[in-house]
Symmetry: C2
Subunit: 194 residues, 2 copies
Amino acid sequence: MARTSRTRFAVLGSLTLGDRSGYDLKQEIERRMGAFWAESIGQIYPTLKQLELGGLVEEVAPSDEAKRSRRVYRITDAGLAELKDWLRAPPQPEQVRNEILLKLYFGPHMGAETALGHVARFEAYQRALLELFEQFKPELVAAADSEEQRLFWEITLSSGLHIADARIAWCEETRRRLLEWQQAQGRDPDTAGD
Amino acid sequence: MARTSRTRFAVLGSLTLGDRSGYDLKQEIERRMGAFWAESIGQIYPTLKQLELGGLVEEVAPSDEAKRSRRVYRITDAGLAELKDWLRAPPQPEQVRNEILLKLYFGPHMGAETALGHVARFEAYQRALLELFEQFKPELVAAADSEEQRLFWEITLSSGLHIADARIAWCEETRRRLLEWQQAQGRDPDTAGD
DNA sequence: GTTAAATATATCTAATAGATATATCTTCCA
DNA sequence: TGGAAGATATATCTATTAGATATATTTAAC
């Protein structure tokens, strides 16, 4: 995929919020950043190893025998420097692969009925997301340990709200269009029923 | 990545619009579907081969010596059936990896200045997209060979417009927030200049 | 008739998604 | 006390994908 891994930076960044194990990172990325970042769990452990080799993270208390099955990592000064370099670089435009739109683009091969089903499911999912974001907001605000942290977290949360709103509006518009089309089909004996 | 390739269906679907070579497919997906679907060029040729092996596509006039360096494919009945099965199945929710939001989530490590730069570039890009979509609309409408085709293509185009609008609104809101924060910092001697 | 640019096919590597394997720890019930 | 169930935790594997690159062929330009 990408020439340089972004998993590295998702991991380094999360480690600036506190020491974490691989499992902690997985949970935190899913829970706190899930609205805009999906991380492959299978990438986290190899990435931690690789970062440790490069001296960007280090294991906390590696000789402690008591909790042998839990390896906790801490970001190093070198790791923080690398993260900051990456944060300064302009973000790359994302590769989009929106499956519902791909299917709708080939809509004449599935018909309005199936399309309406897809759109309805998509809309329900977006509404559930919206609700989740609203519930999540106070938790995020409470977890922030500075005003600046809170500002940036609210900014990312707001993006999720804007996008979900826009998608719901598109769903409503699309449902209306498809229903109109269906009705027009029903009224038109030339094209109905094929 | 995904357990089952979606490149197969982007290719099969495009071939329902007419016979195409690998290069044609690349051009068409980039130009017509680029707003919601990115296809890896390196995947198209192996996918065509694999589809041909499975009998889902076939080469058009494979023995023609005149245009030996251009292999044109046509979808078969089996290919169309497989496409239709896939179109009926509910779309999977997309994996999001939004790099600008990942960076902003770690915003305290870059500061408001850098963040404003990232947001400004993102906004300019979204505005350019919006313009592109508007220019593209009449071309898409003209290319549709049926009212149904036009309906579905307008639906996918409309999604791009909604999302770009929402992102621009988020950019404006975010710029306002970051500027306010910067000004508050400037007025506050305790936290300014760190 | 040679160069340059566009067209076209193909291959390669590193990154990633998603599934799965396996071990450990905690809880709760018999 | 034991052991089953479920949560926690680490790790590995494969098919898919992004993006770069190699290399012909065709067309246009000079």
